[in-house]
Amino acid sequence: MGKIKIAVKSPRIDMTPMVDLFFLLLVFFILTATFRPEEAAPIKTPTSTSQKPIPDANLGTILISKGDKIFFNVDNGTDSSQHIRAKVLSAIGSNYKIKFTPKELKKFEGLASFGLPAANMKAYLNAPDQKAREAMQVGIPIDSIDNQLLMWVRFARTYNTELAFAVKGDGEATFPVVKKVLAVLQDSGVSKFNLTTDLKAGIAAELPAEFIIK
């Protein structure tokens, strides 16, 4: 009787399903990845224990930078075919007697936060690159004589009635400016809004010993 030989097979693994899966996941992650739009100024938000995430759409953001400059951003709503940003800008234009061309409106739709007087908007939109645009960001005027932020907030609310507001301030921004921003929101009838924060490292807040309930 001859020995039974065990056939030696080459260790071949069919990798096709694995590769398929990899590519599927890869495509999924590429498509869902949201890239941060160019921000007008670096803002380091303070920390809090709140765990509520920021809304995805229908959000108007007022940014306050470290140097107390004010920026504004409004999104295109849930559906970009509504062209909310373009509508808001043309309303601002007619308010300050500036005529924006369709090309400029289109350009504005693709940009993110901005902080400059309405008078400079045309030059801003026609700026050749990001560097030139950045140099123009001097903050939106918020004085009582020329409160342009109030106008932006009002028009944004007119064209997107579901708009929620968030204030994204730098931890080092000073109170007088924050107070003005809050007054703008109150004046335009926004009594409920969000303060953007980062999650504190230790999530649970510490309590004095006698208040810990077991």
């Binding site: 260790p11 303070p46 709140s50 107390d68 931890g171 000073t174 924060t197 980062d198």
Partner: protein, 216 residues
């Protein structure tokens, strides 16, 4: 990783066949790259969306409308001042009589003050949360918030916190104090303007130097 192509050895004198190339393509580099990109996108998509803290401000009072009266024993006034310090007093400010107490943002600072005054409400809510976690209390998820709101409404003893800020306060301080309100479950609080009496009191308390306003 991929496969080991075993070369067949030719034995004997048989015809030398032209070596047939299989249609195998070595996929290893492609898989490596796909894997790398996958990892990259998985890590960068990071779901670390910024968090928000909801703030509800009272509507702007109309000109002919009087602000609602509030129980002065429940009124807890918190004045934020420079250098991350907090001053507080209870009731209505009377020059020369009211003493401002100093605190900070640590757990033994303003948090203790707030908790001592808000003990009942805080205990109620913490107990409920604990019962929910232990399974003693079963509630649909969406009614938890409603129940907390009912607790807030029923609260008759907790403090009514008036948050005021002197010049020179940073935005960070405001976020901190609102966060304290959330931690200690304060039912009623509001951001209000500082009045001249309090301004004076703060000045005397901190040494009579005028408030420094940052000029940029």
């Amino acid at each position: 990783m991929a496969e080991i192509v075993q070369e067949e050895s030719h034995k004997g004198k048989g015809k030398r066949k032209a070596k047939k190339h299989g249609t195998h393509i070595d996929m290893t580099p492609m898989v490596d790259l796909a894997c790398l990109l996958l990892t990259f996108f998985m890590l960068t998509t990071a779901f670390n969306k910024p968090k928000v803290m909801e703030v509800i401000m009272p509507d702007k009072p109309k000109d002919n409308e009087k602000p609602p009266e509030l129980d002065k024993d429940r009124a807890l006034n918190i004045i934020l001042v420079e250098n991350d310090k907090v001053l507080w007093y209870v009731g209505i400010a009377e020059p020369g009589k009211t003493i401002l107490k100093e605190a900070n943002y640590t757990k033994e600072g303003i948090r203790r003050v707030l908790l001592e005054r808000n003990k009942q409400l805080f205990t109620n809510i913490t107990k409920m949360n604990k019962d929910l976690i232990d399974g003693k209390l079963k509630l649909p998820r969406d009614s938890v918030e409603g129940r907390i709101k009912r607790f807030y409404k029923a609260d008759k003893t907790g403090p009514i916190v008036l948050i005021k800020a002197a010049d020179g306060v940073k935005y960070r301080n405001i976020v901190d104090i609102i966060d304290e309100m959330a931690i200690t479950n304060i039912a009623r609080y509001s951001l209000v303007d500082i009045n001249p009496v309090e301004k004076m009191m703060v000045q005397t308390q901190l040494g009579s130097k005028p408030p420094v306003t940052a000029i940029k």
